[in-house]
Amino acid sequence: MNTAEFARRAAAEGLIDVAYAGVDSPFGHLTAAVTDAGIVRLAFEGEELDGVLQELADRVSPRVLEVPARLDGVRRELDEYFEGHRHQFTTPVDWRLSHGFHLKAREACYAIPFGKVLTYAELAAAAGSPRAVRAAGQAMARNPVPIVVPSHRVLRTGGALGGYGGGLEVKRWLLDMESGEPADDRLF
């Protein structure tokens, strides 16, 4: 039972619609999933993997396979980012899990550069609906590709952290890293 050979032949035939693999991070084991269009999902350790994969099967394609080699580029870029050396990801985002205003809000979020922050109100305005502050918050809370789509860079008016799908400690760690805080002062 040679699953690596199987993955190779399936890929050669274009039969792998979603490839996923684990990615280590300073705050635990992440799971990343890519399609031909780009990165479609990044899940934190706390998310139940079976549920994450089933959602991909339902909403993208049931041809979901674990293929670590397909994630090499994503893994390298994330490693560089966590070390503070990478400010932009070159892997494109596959937006197909986002629709309507959530898509607009996430695209606006994607444009926030490394080290900068917006408030939820500013994000709503940037997405074209200044009054949709609550919806902008929801779009961030359910962001399918956190870190790459930097929902951690969106804060409450006045500077409070707001929420974060991966937990507030992770949000704080990412913001500290981007502001150049020395690693010793960080939580992890």
């Binding site: 039972m1 699953t3 039969l15 099967a57 049931p62 041809r63």
Partner: protein, 154 residues
């Protein structure tokens, strides 16, 4: 019906399918048949409807691939008189000569005996894989075992 991610089929049933094929076509052909089975399954997977028994579906594809391999081996220009010696089988197939006797059975008997004793399916499930009734499946297992026993005693 929601289809689970294909990786789950590989994880849950991949080794069952391989065990079935190893008993059905021998350890050397089994690797190729397993690849062909899983590639066929992956090709057809998104179009699958009303499928409640994914393991049975995979075994049905495996059975077709085993038949293909069997037909291909009969078409080969230089048939061999004797089955070549093979390395010791894994623990789940402790008696390679016995399984070679099973492989000499006619098609449905061979599939039925293999499904019963290598894959541990009940007769109803065997019937679904080889497309016959539960009674016919039981009859195929019984007839197959009788032949193997006759050959074994000789």
């Amino acid at each position: 019906m929601k289809l689970p991610p294909f990786q789950m089929l590989l994880d849950e049933h991949g080794s069952d399918v391989h065990r079935y094929l190893a008993a059905r076509v021998g350890p050397v052909e089994a690797d190729d048949c397993w690849q062909e089975t899983m590639l066929s399954a992956l090709r057809a997977y998104p179009g699958l409807r009303h499928q409640t028994n994914l393991r049975g579906w995979l075994l049905r594809i495996a059975e077709r691939k085993a038949l293909d391999a069997f037909r291909a081996s009969r078409r080969r220009p230089v048939p061999v008189e004797e089955v070549p010696e093979r390395p010791a089988p894994p623990a789940e197939r402790p008696d390679p000569e016995l399984w070679q006797a099973v492989r000499r059975l006619p098609g449905k008997q061979r599939a039925a005996v293999t499904l019963r004793f290598a894959s541990d399916l009940d007769y109803a499930a065997i019937g679904r894989v080889i497309e016959c009734s539960e009674d016919a499946a039981r009859q195929n297992v019984r007839a197959g075992l009788a032949s193997v026993r006759r050959e074994w005693v000789r």
